[in-house]
Symmetry: C2
DNA sequence: TCCTAAACCTGCATTTTCGCATGTTTATTA
DNA sequence: TAATAAACATGCGAAAATGCAGGTTTAGGA
C-alpha cells in the first residue's frame, strides 16, 4: 500500500483530469476522490455491477474486456497511467464491460455526481472529454472494420502494434513494457491463442520479431506496420 | 429543392441539437446553418476531405462507410432524421469515413467554430453530447466483439436487428422502412453478399422472414433476436 | 534445486467461410 | 412492351481458420 497522492502533487501531468480541470474544481476532486490499489489480475469493475463513478489510472495498466461469446473474450482497450476508465458507462446504471489490472495499479475514483458537476462547470474539460470520445469512437469503429476484414496475419500484427502503442517498449531490450499471455494477445487480435503462436513463428522466421523465453523482441516494427498497410489506427 | 427550415419551426423535436441547446444559441445556429439536399447515392463527405463542421439530418437516411480493405467495405453506422453526423471528426482535420445518402436527404450543416462555442456555452448540450458519445462508444466496442466472435448466421441476424432498430418497419406490411442491397447488408454484417443470401434462404425456410421480390418481410423478430442471444446492442 | 502447474508450440483433421461461375429474377429505360 | 443492366440465388471447389492432441518449455513455489 502506498500513501494517498493529491492531484496537485501528482507527477502525472498528462492525467486526463488535468486536461481542462483546474483550481477550485481540481481541488474539489482531489479532496473527494478515493484512491485504490489493485493487484495484477484483480477486477476494478465487472459487467453488471452498478456504476457509482469514474476512474483515473494513477499508475499501472488495465485491460477492458468483454464477457465471453462462444467461449471467447475480447479485449476492448488497454489503458495506462493518466488515462480515464469506466467512461463508457456514463449515465448508465450498470457496467457493460469488465476491467482487470494487468499490472499492480493505483487508481483514483471520482463519484458520478462530482464528475458531472465538473463537466458542467469546466467547459474546457467538457470539450476535451468530447474530443477524447470522438477519438475513441473513431478508433473503435476502425476496429470494427479490421475485425470484419483482416486476415489472421494482419490481425495479429495489428494486435502487436496496438500493444506497442498502448504501453511502449524498452528502447534497449526492444521488449514490450507489458507482459501479456498468448491468450491476451489473441483476445486483442480477435482470434485464438494457437493462431497467435503460429503467426509469431512466421514473424520470427521473417526476422520481424525474436523470442526470448516468453518475451517478444521487436526487430522490425516498420515491417510489422507494413503488414497492416495503410490501416493503422489514428 | 425545398425551402429552408429554421430550427424553431422544425418539427424534428428529437433533433440532437435541441437536446440542451436553447434560446439564443439555438437561434444563432439556426440562422448560421446551411441546409443541403442530397439525392440517394450521393456523398455528404468522403474520407480524406477537410472537416469544416458538423451535420444534423433533418430528413432521410445516411450510411457511414469505411473505404475498402481486401475489396470489402464496412458500414459503420446507419443514421436517420434527428441524428448527428460527422461527430467522429471533431478536432480532426480530415474525415476518416465516407458518408452516403441511402434515401434522398435534407441535412443541416453547422461550422466547427459555432458548434464548439455552443458546446462551451450550453453545458447541458455538452453533457448530452458526452452521454451520446459514451453510448456510441459502447455500441462500437460491442460491435468489435461481435465481429470478432460471431459466426455468419449470427452476424447476418445482427445486421437485420440493427437495420430494424435504426429505421424501423412498416407495422402493416412488416417490411423495413429502408431498402438496402444484399451488398449493403453484407457490409453491415461484415461478410459477403453471397453469405447474406444464403442466410436469408435459411431464415426463410425457418419462417423467420419471407421474401417478396427483393423486399424482406419480418415474420418473427423475437426468434431473430434469439439467434444472437444475450448479445443485443444497448 | 526439484517439482508441478501453467503456458506455449506444432501437426493434423474438421469446420467454416469465401469467391467464382452460372443461371434467374427484378428494375429501369427506350 | 421489349430490351438491357443490375441485383439476386445457389452449387461447388478452394482457402482460411479453428480446435484438439500431444509434446515441450517456463515460471514459481516447496
Amino acid at each position: 500500500m502506498k500513501n494517498r497522492i493529491e492531484c496537485n502533487v501528482c507527477t502525472n501531468e498528462n492525467c486526463f483530469i488535468k486536461q481542462g480541470c483546474f483550481g477550485e474544481w481540481l481541488n474539489k476532486i482531489s479532496s473527494q476522490k478515493n484512491q485504490l490499489w489493485y493487484k495484477k489480475g484483480s477486477y476494478i469493475f465487472r459487467e453488471g455491477e452498478p456504476i457509482y463513478g469514474i476512474y483515473f489510472i494513477q499508475h499501472g495498466g488495465i485491460k477492458v474486456v468483454t464477457t465471453s461469446l462462444h467461449g471467447r473474450e475480447q479485449i476492448v482497450r488497454l489503458a495506462k497511467e493518466g488515462q480515464i476508465l469506466g467512461h463508457r458507462g456514463l449515465r448508465k446504471t450498470y457496467y457493460y464491460f469488465n476491467s482487470v489490472a494487468i499490472m499492480d495499479s493505483l487508481v483514483c475514483f471520482v463519484e458520478n455526481e462530482l464528475f458531472y458537476e465538473a463537466c458542467m462547470n469546466c467547459p474546457e474539460f467538457a470539450i476535451n472529454l468530447i474530443f477524447f470520445y470522438a477519438s475513441e469512437l473513431r478508433r473503435a469503429e476502425l476496429r470494427v472494420k479490421y475485425q470484419a476484414q483482416m486476415n489472421i496475419r494482419e490481425k495479429v500484427a495489428m494486435a502487436f502494434i496496438y500493444i506497442y502503442e498502448a504501453f511502449g517498449m524498452n528502447p534497449e531490450t526492444k521488449m514490450l513494457n507489458i507482459s501479456l499471455t498468448r491468450q491476451d494477445i489473441a483476445d486483442i487480435a480477435g482470434t485464438t491463442a494457437e493462431q497467435v503462436t503460429r503467426q509469431l513463428s512466421n514473424f520470427e522466421s521473417e526476422k520481424l520479431i525474436a523470442r526470448n523465453k516468453r518475451e517478444i523482441i521487436f526487430l522490425n516494427i516498420k515491417e510489422l506496420e507494413n503488414i497492416i498497410g495503410d490501416y493503422k489506427i489514428e
